[in-house]
Homo-oligomer: 434 residues x 2
């Protein structure tokens, strides 16, 4: 078997055999296949795609390249939720406690911020003392005790994916549906899950800009799960404006806390209930999905979800009081208002620009090694469809260092579109796949 | 400027600016851009193509990466001929002396064998003593004295192309029309030419299997030449069967000698006259192309071309007597006939198979470092359209070592298609571009 022949066959649109996929991934992981051949192969995949059979094998192969978490000693159906990434998307912090309080076992594994989107691990780490690097024994113990833990992805899970992802990042081969699908699924399946709920974001603030691409991604991931005997459902949800009002790490923890106390934004609450319900239903805790929705809602309203979140924060070294007393969270020192240049309706809020502006003042990273500032971010005052007057506040930037604040404010101002005509309402949950 | 952004823009079908092409080629040549980014870029070019402007800049940039031959001190219009490679294609050995004897200055630069096709340098080196590694001073002196020299490509001309070609070879990015065009033209234009005649081969024995691809390649190369103020014409010619009867280095030198003595195969003679006529016309030696054809024919019939060839062979250290007395050329020690399994018409002779079989017995190389056997090869006894009886000889294999002869004979037998019906005649010269 010669690598160049496999690249050529993929380039020419042929399907590779399972052992050929193994040859490529194993060869690359061990270093026998050089970067320059793998990058040519990845670009060929970008253009020629992959069949379901190929992408499933690629996922399995990356999964097998590292450790897997053995949760067989933990009783119950283990369900996780994964979002493809958005702006202001703090649903994990709400959904996981709701599902866990309804009896689902939730080993929630998350990553750091990527590009203009936030990362659940960064948000949780803004809670003083919170640690996500639990050992496998700690994971199992905590799941047995309270049915929920938040852990960060480690390099030991699916290391082949880690190596391939680094190469994709510098060779313009990130935006490939088979490569995204296999990357997500190989890491998720390494956690020892039984079922998975996917939140595939679509819109200007998401990696998938078009619904047709989001659908293909969702279908491919659901297919990979099915071939590996996991129950997987995907929601395709709108990311054409930030979710909720808060963008930035500690700011999003505050909003998640409020939402778990049934005082959160409508869109965030609605999506969280739906995602938690899907997890509850896949874990067979209720006979129907509607029952699951009612159960999730009840766990929100009666405060069980909030209680569960505080319990887990305490268990993982964080100060649970910070969820009531926000002054215990990192707080910004400066504030800059952005006002509307004219009266009218908010017809669009470019989520990617909001995310990028938030990163500019320190909420995200340019490079992996960069530190983030947990205190800073943006709070929207209005959302799409609302009416504003000239000079009324559109949003507030919270910062700790002056530099780049004005640039960020300008970007944020441009992100809002104000028109005379009221926009049509856009659905939050667009499709269900699986 | 970030390499990854340029890869992405090419991937997404955008045109890169001239300075962006420079950045990529210069960065790669100096080693600042790693192989893995260049290979991803090359695969993106394979799929997304290049505009005429991009491919011209790429050519210029590769040309500028190394030395160029300064022929300004040599009077007259310098014209070369280049073939994209075929089986039994020894036209360079005939065309160059014909054009030179008509007063054209011909700095003929050639390469070694590539894949199943032969290389002019290998053919010439089968003449005892012949050397092609002339210094620039030797090239100029010989061109001034006799208007013709045969030189081999050196790594000093267009080294960026050399580096990129090596990478293409192992990343399945060879078969890209913009990359082929710029590779050929950067080396050719480094010779200090004024004009160039291209012979773009099409058919099973050529790298381009389809006429539409050959046409695109021809158009792109003619366009590159035009943008650099060179007069370039391209013929698209049939390579669905070997050209002439002889395949293999010394065997082809013999056939070229016979052709220069007006005793060669019809197809080879016809194509050689046409190519020489185009060179003569581009060099402005005659007012019309028809006059140029007559002049080329005259130089063949009156023996001037043959005399010129012998003069050049002697000047470059070869024994010119070997062109009359073939026993002075390397000769094979064994011969194996391949006969027809039945009577009928020869409807096809797969040129790629003939070339591959010839390589199997030693006429070509598997790897760059491999030695070649100048004596061995294949002589066809019949061509497409001729009638054969059962058991009559189709061709003869000439070899010096027994191993692989039977395998080669089997491949050659399969290369011939014999049918009851006489095939339609196929044109040798299919199109003219430029």
């Amino acid at each position: 078997m010669r690598t160049v022949d496999l690249i050529q066959r993929k380039r020419d649109g042929e399907e590779l055999a399972p052992e050929e996929i193994d040859f490529l991934v194993e060869g690359y992981t061990t270093g026998e296949i050089p970067d320059y051949q793998m990058s040519a192969f990845l670009m060929a995949v970008f253009f020629a795609g992959m069949t379901d059979r190929e992408v499933s094998r690629l996922t399995e192969c990356m999964l097998r390249s590292g450790e897997t978490v053995d949760l067989s000693s933990v009783e119950g159906i283990k369900v996780d939720k994964h979002s493809t990434g958005g702006v202001g998307d703090k649903t994990s912090l709400i959904v996981a406690p709701l599902a866990a309080s309804a009896g689902v076992v939730v080993p929630m594994m998350s990553g750091h911020a990527l590009g203009h989107t936030g990362g659940t691990v960064d948000k949780l780490e803004s809670i003083p003392g919170f640690r996500t690097n639990l050992t496998p024994d700690e994971v199992r113990a905590q799941l047995k005790e309270m049915g929920l833990c938040f852990i960060s992805q480690t390099d030991r899970l699916a290391p082949a994916d880690g190596k391939i992802y680094s190469l994709r990042d510098v060779t313009a081969t990130v935006e490939s549906i088979p490569l995204i699908s296999s990357s997500i699924m190989s890491k998720k399946l390494a956690e020892g899950l039984d079922a998975l709920v996917l939140d595939v974001k679509v819109g200007n603030g998401a990696f998938m800009k078009k619904q047709v691409d989001a659908r293909r991604l969702a279908q491919m991931m659901v297919g990979i799960g099915r071939r590996m005997d996991k129950r997987v459902q995907a929601l395709i949800t709108d990311m054409s404006q930030p979710l909720g009002y808060a963008v930035g790490n500690a700011l999003e923890v505050m909003e998640a806390s409020q939402t778990l106390q049934n005082a959160g934004p409508t869109d965030l609450t609605k999506l969280s209930i739906e995602l938690a319900a899907r997890m509850i239903f896949l874990a067979k805790k209720t006979p129907t999905l509607d029952d699951a929705r009612r159960l999730a809602e009840q766990k929100l309203v009666d405060g069980s979800g909030y209680k569960k979140f505080k319990q887990v924060v305490a268990a993982q070294g964080g100060n649970p009081q910070a969820l009531d007393k926000f002054e215990l969270l990192p707080n910004a020192t400066g504030m800059r208002e952005v006002t509307s240049p004219r009266g009218g309706y908010v017809t669009a809020i470019d989520a990617e620009d909001i995310g990028t502006a938030s990163n500019m003042i320190g909420a995200g990273r340019d490079r992996k090694e960069d530190p983030i500032d947990p205190a800073v971010g943006i709070i929207l005052e209005v959302k799409v469809g609302e009416k504003v007057d000239a000079g009324s506040v559109l949003c507030r930037l919270y910062y700790t260092r002056e530099e780049r604040v004005e640039d960020a404010a300008e970007m944020v101002e441009d992100a809002f579109r104000i028109s005379a005509q009221k926009p049509e309402e856009r659905e939050l949950i667009l499709e269900v796949v699986g």
